[in-house]
């Protein structure tokens, strides 16, 4: 592992640097931000100045402070969602692959049904039914994304459960949990970790898209997707401020993908 870290390409280093910076900003938001998240601190639509570095938004809140606090909400939601999606999807997939037979059939068909409905439509529908709280947002997107995770994890696990060492564990009399988490999971980990990075990006985009549609993170909480929507009209006046939250999303997506590429490269075992 250390050998891989030493030989890490610049792109992956850049990715880690960006994510580290984002994480710091999110964690120390109250210390960094010049103003509180939701306080109205000046007139609306102020241009960039010494007092408001990035100007103010449609209600007179400081843009820079909201950009910083949004890192918290957007990143926090994305991480929580991806984690839940993976725990759910991987557990179901390992269970299905280990048990095989009708258990596998039942779980797989349920997942097929869920996957046959477009994600955005389902999430819009469910959010309308259950209300647009942050918790609902996380749970609904996690459930929908867990289907994709399930597909991939099951495919990987299927190739592993037929290995002789899994058979050896079975005829030793090992329980299902041992086989799932000790024999199969460690061998499926590398592709799944790479997939985690990719899914993280997609979840992030979905949250942003929902926020843009008004069903994501609700005001007055700051969120990058919502910030683009609220201030989009500024573009017509030649003000670049609404592009900043969009740029923050783009940069994170890029950073995560650089890392994913590197992980896939390491997992493939190719020598450059």
């Amino acid at each position: 592992m250390t050998r891989h870290l030493r030989k890490m390409p610049l792109t992956a280093l850049f990715g880690f640097a960006v994510i580290f910076t984002y994480a710091c900003v999110a964690i120390f938001a109250p210390l960094i931000a010049p103003y509180p998240e939701t306080a109205i601190v000046g007139p609306e639509y102020m241009p960039w100045s010494d007092e408001f570095l990035l100007g103010t938004d449609s209600l007179g809140r400081d843009m820079l402070s909201r950009l910083i606090y949004a890192a918290r909400n957007t990143l926090g939601i994305a991480i929580a969602t991806t984690l839940i999606a993976f725990i759910l999807g991987c557990s179901a997939a390992l269970f299905a692959a280990t048990m095989q037979g009708w258990v596998d059939q039942v779980i797989s068909r349920i997942v097929d049904v869920m996957m046959s409905i477009p994600t955005l439509i389902t999430s819009l529908l469910l959010l309308t039914i259950f209300g647009t709280s942050v918790l609902n947002l996380i749970l609904i997107i996690a459930l929908l994304y867990s289907t994709v995770v399930f597909r991939i994890a099951r495919a990987v696990a299927m190739g592993i459960v037929v290995m002789d060492y899994v058979e050896a564990a079975r005829i030793r009399g090992e329980g299902m949990f041992w086989i799932m988490f000790r024999e199969v999971l460690p061998n499926a980990a590398t592709p799944l970790v790479a997939e985690f990075g990719l899914r993280f990006t997609f979840v992030f985009l979905t949250v942003s898209a929902l926020s843009f549609l008004g069903l994501g993170v609700q005001p007055p909480l700051a969120d990058w997707g919502a910030m683009v929507r609220e201030n989009a009209s500024l573009i017509t006046f030649g003000d670049l401020t609404p592009l900043l939250p969009a740029g923050a999303i783009a940069l994170l997506t890029l950073a995560v993908n650089f890392i994913v590429d590197w992980m896939l490269h390491v997992a493939s075992g190719l020598k450059d």
């Binding site: 050998r3 290995m163 005829i171 030793r172 009399g173 024999e183 460690p186 061998n187």
Partner: protein, 541 residues
Amino acid sequence: MTQTPLLTITDLVIQAQSDDGPKTLIDGLSLALNKGEVLGLIGESGAGKSTFGLGAMGFTRDGCGFASGSVIFDGIELTQASPKVRRGLRSTRIAYVAQSAAASFNPAYSLIRQYSEFPVLAEGRDRSAVEADAVEAYRRMHLPNPEDIGFRYPHQVSGGQLQRAMTAMAMACKPDLIIFDEPTTALDVTTQIEVLEAIREAVREFNTAAIYITHDLAVVSQMADRIMVLRHGNLVEEAPTAKMMSDPQEEYTKSLWAVRSFKAPAKPLPDAASTPLVSLKNVTARYGPAGPDVLQNVSFDLHKGRTMAIVGESGSGKTTSARCAMGLLPRSAGDVLLDGVSLPPDYHKRNKTQLQQLQIIYQMADTALNPKQKISDIIGRPVTFYTGLRGRARTERVRDLLSAIDLDPNVYFDRYPGELSGGQKQRIGIARALAAEPRVVICDEVTSALDQLVAEGILRLLVKLQQDFDLSYLFITHDIATVESIADDVVVMQKGKVVEAGPKDQIMAPPHAPYTELLLSSVPEMDPGWLDRVVQKRALG
């Protein structure tokens, strides 16, 4: 008469690029090969046989390259030639027959389509004329239904047929040089003999030069005019076949020649009245509820402290019988007894003690060990699982087991399987089985993926462990030499049935059952005239 050699290789050095700088795979090998001459290349895995064989075509694998030396084929310097020139030579003037025909054919095209690809593309010949040629070539390879077989797809013919189709394909453009890379290693002995004969006839007929790469001495002595022994990319010795077989000069060559001399000490016959340790009684089994019976009325008894070898070709039901005994494939009829007590057909229904008594060692050590677990965990888990030892006691037990399989616990305790050689991995597989403290160990082709010297080490270890731990072995193998060296009793199987069973001395001595006779007579012998004699005898019979 002196002729210019077809292929001259001088001081060839092939290096591989690795993280720690270049690694030399072939260290200054030279050879001269005349038209119509067959050269045998012998050595263990990692000796550089295949690299050298490919190098003779002016080809190196990815990450490798020619460092110095020359390969001159019919006046053309291949190491310097442009890719276009080399590509033009390959398959038309130099052909290559790979070890695994199944992996080398494109599964999406019929055999004859792949046969005609090169003659049509490279020589611009008419497809129907080439296909007529193909039928003739298939006939020469003694393939059944030569007119039709070409229109089948690779998965529709057997492994031996595929290997012959590949040899026919290699000869499609009447090449001057063919490189055979272990063409019969993956085949059963009975199939191997047909492929060997077909190859030899074809090579003689077209006066083709050939390089025959193998690790099987008996095979090479049938095929080659001259033999080169390689080790670590260096030449050990080179001599005409007859001289090499009768009078090897180097110590290493002698050790290769002597490898089959190991014989386990004979044991007294068991008391006829004693209860066999494991007993299969009229076991019938099938895959899937509607499948055909892959085992029919299979019965045999394994007595305490003895080694029973199950022999037969692939598909004969050797492994399936073992899987029935283990409960991995539930039997549909019959009974499996352990100490006279019936075992449930499905391993799920067996209790821990029943599972503990029967352990298995797999053929492919690569897939039998979890690559993400340390050696101490692989061996330690069954220790904890069956005996409940933990902490220091478990560590001690694992170290004892490592010592028992002749691996230094200080070195190997914390390693991962990826850091071990093939033979060492197989030893870990043995230790894992021993860790359960079993009474019966099923050895499923445990030596067939290993080099002969390494395999012999494993056999010696198994015999030693049998005495130390009072084990009984059910030894599945297709290799008669292994049976000779380790077995006490033999079961011969064919097409899911037991042909004959009994003590080794009785089965291996004439008179034989007809199938046993076929099996035994197909095992290549070191004598260079063996293939001729067998072919002659079978033609008469």
